[in-house]
């Protein structure tokens, strides 16, 4: 990510490059002076709803024109030359599809739009539908598909031309756990195949399970980019809360109060203990021993601050 490597012998053109890109909708700022270069691997694009993720994607795939700055796909402006689109697969956020078509017909038509003959297109469609796990239902109409199946059909159409750059806008939104796992596996596998993948979400845990490279957008601005673990390590040093559900919260609290990283406890309800810490990682590391030694049964452990909002809050504080 962010690699625009130049040496004397070769120039690596990033799959995706935005240079001081801004987009305004009238007086509303959709994206504000974003510069980024992505090449290879899976990159998670994080941001709350309205952060500018979809605007960024629409700029990348040529649906929107930047108000300022330039977008380059493989070094080419997509508004001037359509050639990069032969190397791009895009999965839009919305779930609109041609419900009257079967997944096989849909993906075949999409393949033919890349210039493949009918026979080639059908072969490719079968291949990608198998890849996303829809091979046994590919002759069923898309209108009869579940949400997860529709998402996979959308991913299949994006993969049909074996693209080098794949853009997935909220691909896990609304999917059941099984579908989420399937789609995440597909994305991870594509990443391992050396493709450049940009996947957006507003749920941190989803992105965490797919990739370590993240880009965070907030209010149209690029807030952070880099390794998720590095950001999380920083976050872990920040005041954090851990919620434990148990029938003996007060007894358990006494065990944690001896821990060097815990600076406070609360009891929000009869069966809940809330621990405040400056080092989330250390408390989590020591927690199995503390619980084991206490002999107190804990039915649930949650990190209420381990979410995107907390990261954003933390990053905003640092500004």
């Amino acid at each position: 990510m962010n690699s625009q490597n130049t040496d004397n012998s070769s120039i690596v053109v990033p799959a995706l490059m935005l240079d001081h890109v801004s987009k305004w909708y009238g007086n509303i700022v959709g994206l504000n002076d974003v510069s980024i270069a992505i090449n290879g691997g899976v990159t998670g694009l994080l941001g709350m709803n309205g952060a500018g993720k979809s605007t960024l994607f629409k700029l990348i795939v040529g649906k929107l024109k930047p108000s300022q700055g330039t977008v380059r796909l493989f070094g080419i402006n997509p508004w001037e030359n359509k050639a990069p689109f032969s190397r791009i697969g895009y999965v839009p956020e919305h779930e609109k599809l041609y419900d009257w078509m079967t997944a096989f017909d849909f993906v075949t038509i999409m393949a033919r739009l890349f210039g493949h003959s009918r026979e080639q297109a059908e072969e490719r469609a079968k291949h990608v539908l198998k890849f996303v796990g829809l091979d046994d239902v590919m002759h069923k109409e898309l209108g009869k598909y579940s949400k997860g199946m529709r998402q996979r059909a959308k991913i299949a159409q994006a993969l049909v031309n074996d693209p080098d750059l794949i853009i997935l806008d909220e691909p896990l939104q609304g999917c059941d756990p099984l579908a989420r796992t399937t789609i995440m596996n597909v994305i991870r596998e594509l990443g391992s195949m050396g493709k450049t993948i940009v996947v957006s979400s507003h749920i941190l845990s989803e992105i965490e399970r797919i990739t370590e490279q993240i880009v965070i957008l907030h209010n149209g601005r690029l807030l952070a980019l880099g390794n998720l673990h590095a950001i999380r390590d920083l976050l872990d040093k920040h005041p954090h809360r851990i919620s434990l559900t148990t029938e003996e919260p007060r007894e358990l609290a006494s065990k944690f109060l001896n821990h060097e990283s815990v600076y406070g406890v609360h009891f929000p309800s009869k069966n809940e203990l809330l621990i405040e810490t400056h080092d989330l990682g250390k408390v989590h590391n020591d927690m199995p021993f503390i619980l084991d030694n206490s002999g107190i049964r804990v039915t649930a452990i949650e990190n209420p601050d381990d979410n995107l909002e907390s990261i954003l809050e933390y990053l905003m504080e640092g500004r």
Binding site: K63, L64, Y98, W100
Partner: protein, 444 residues
């Protein structure tokens, strides 16, 4: 380039061909799944069926014959018609003076002098009040010979100025055909004066039907409504439903995509129009008055109607789909445009080209194509209208309502080419405007 590799041009063209057909096929399949497509197709079929029923009723009805020249009457009650008495030189008013031959049925002198018009004849001149008009003269066209019997004509004091040569072409009992401005047919008195009313009615009504339904039913109504429902949303519906990206997020120029999308629409509407025109041609061809089992002469007329309708759905479709690209209120804009076209259609029918403003419409040019070909197919339509008006024959008003003289260029052929060219230019211009707008359009 190696021997095995394909030339670049071939490769590029084959890819374009694959993409174009893919989009066209997709568009056609999409039409098949839409209720609006089937609704408009069924309405069109019902309209055609309904109109055909009226047509069949008209063609199978019998019009009572009228003795326009009054020579079938037996004034003196001797059993002989006026015509037969005059033929043998007896007095039609004297019951005791009658021919020494068998009396023929009076009905023999009803509808006995039918129209003999054709463009065959010798070149001649008509000279009236010093003004000379070039034309064609036909002789031996007085079927019942009453023009030749000057005495009878004089006796009835019905002879106009010029005697037997009332058309002043210096030939007695002839038909003078002037082609200076349109076709003007001027027969001498008592030539072609007692036509076959039934035959005239069926012929004129048939022509009126073909022209009327061709101009209003096909060129205007189908021409407007098919594009209104099938073309306005060609791009707009995809934009609104957010599915457009699947189609244009590919290595294909938007302008190209728009062209192929229109291609699908053209294939669909042209095939539909062709099937309807074929049905109409087949049914009317077997029912309409004809010397043979089928009225082959109309094929070119129906071909012209199909040609004009195809050009019109092409022009309207491109305009309406461009409205759809520009605004989400494309349907509303198309309806307003349709109202304008309706007004122009009415003015074109009323004025047959005399209102210049009608040229600012699509429908005018489409109707001009049909009018141009009708002049070639039925060159005697004006004559039929003139004679029908002169003798107050039933059916002439219908033909007069829908018959139009091509008003562009020096000949019908020029009008035909000019009109087709104008429609193609309008379509191309609007297409390029729409294409250009679509290329720049952001998809929010």
């Amino acid at each position: 380039m190696s021997k095995d590799s394909r030339p670049l041009s071939k490769s590029v063209w084959s890819k374009i061909d694959v993409k174009s057909w893919a989009i066209t096929e997709f568009t056609l399949r999409q039409y098949q799944t839409r209720k609006s497509t089937w609704s408009i197709a069924i309405i069109g079929m019902l309209l055609v069926t309904l109109v055909l029923l009226f047509y069949i009723k008209g063609q199978t009805s019998i019009i009572e014959s009228i003795d326009q020249d009054g020579d079938s009457y037996d004034w003196d009650g001797d059993g002989y018609s006026i015509a037969q008495e005059l033929q043998y030189g007896t007095d039609p008013n004297d019951a005791n003076d009658f021919p020494n031959v068998t009396a023929l049925p009076l009905s023999n002198w009803v509808d006995e002098d039918d129209f003999s018009y054709s463009m065959d004849g010798d070149n001649c001149q008509r000279n009236i009040y010093g003004i000379q008009t070039e034309g064609v003269c036909q002789t031996n066209v007085d079927d019942d010979g009453d023009c030749e019997r000057l005495d009878w004509v004089l006796q009835n004091q019905l002879l106009g100025q010029g005697g037997k040569d009332s058309n002043f072409d210096n030939i007695d009992c002839s038909v003078f055909i002037s082609t200076n401005i349109g076709i003007n047919v001027i027969p001498d008195n008592y030539v072609d004066e007692d036509p076959n009313d039934n035959k005239y009615f069926h012929e004129t009504v048939h022509r009126a039907f073909v022209l009327g339904f061709g101009k209003i039913g096909f060129a205007f109504l189908m021409g407007i409504f098919l594009p209104l429902f099938l073309a306005t949303g060609l791009i707009r519906d995809e934009m609104e439903s957010e599915t457009l990206h699947y189609l244009i997020g590919k290595p294909i120029a938007r302008g190209e995509f728009y062209a192929y999308r229109l291609g699908g629409y053209f294939v669909m509407t042209w095939a539909y129009l062709a099937s309807l025109v074929l049905i109409m041609n087949l049914i009317t061809g077997f029912i309409a008055p004809s010397d043979s089992f089928f009225r082959f002469q109309d094929i070119q007329m129906w071909a012209a109607i199909l040609f004009a309708s195809c050009l019109m759905v092409m022009a309207y479709g491109t305009i309406f789909s461009t409205f759809g690209i520009f605004t989400k209120y494309g349907m509303l804009a198309s309806i307003f445009f349709g109202v304008w076209e309706f007004m122009m259609a009415m003015l074109t029918l009323i004025g047959t080209g005399s209102f210049f403003v009608t040229r600012m419409s699509i429908v005018f040019w489409g109707m001009q194509i049909i009018d141009s070909v009708s002049v070639y197919t039925w060159s005697d339509s004006e004559y039929l209208i003139q004679q029908g008006s002169l003798h107050d024959l039933e059916g002439h008003q219908a033909l007069e309502s829908f018959y139009g003289v091509p008003s562009i260029g020096s000949s019908p052929l020029t009008t035909l080419f000019t009109s087709a060219t104008v429609l193609i230019i309008i379509t191309s211009t609007v297409f390029f405007i729409g294409q250009s707008a679509f290329k720049r359009k952001e998809l929010k």
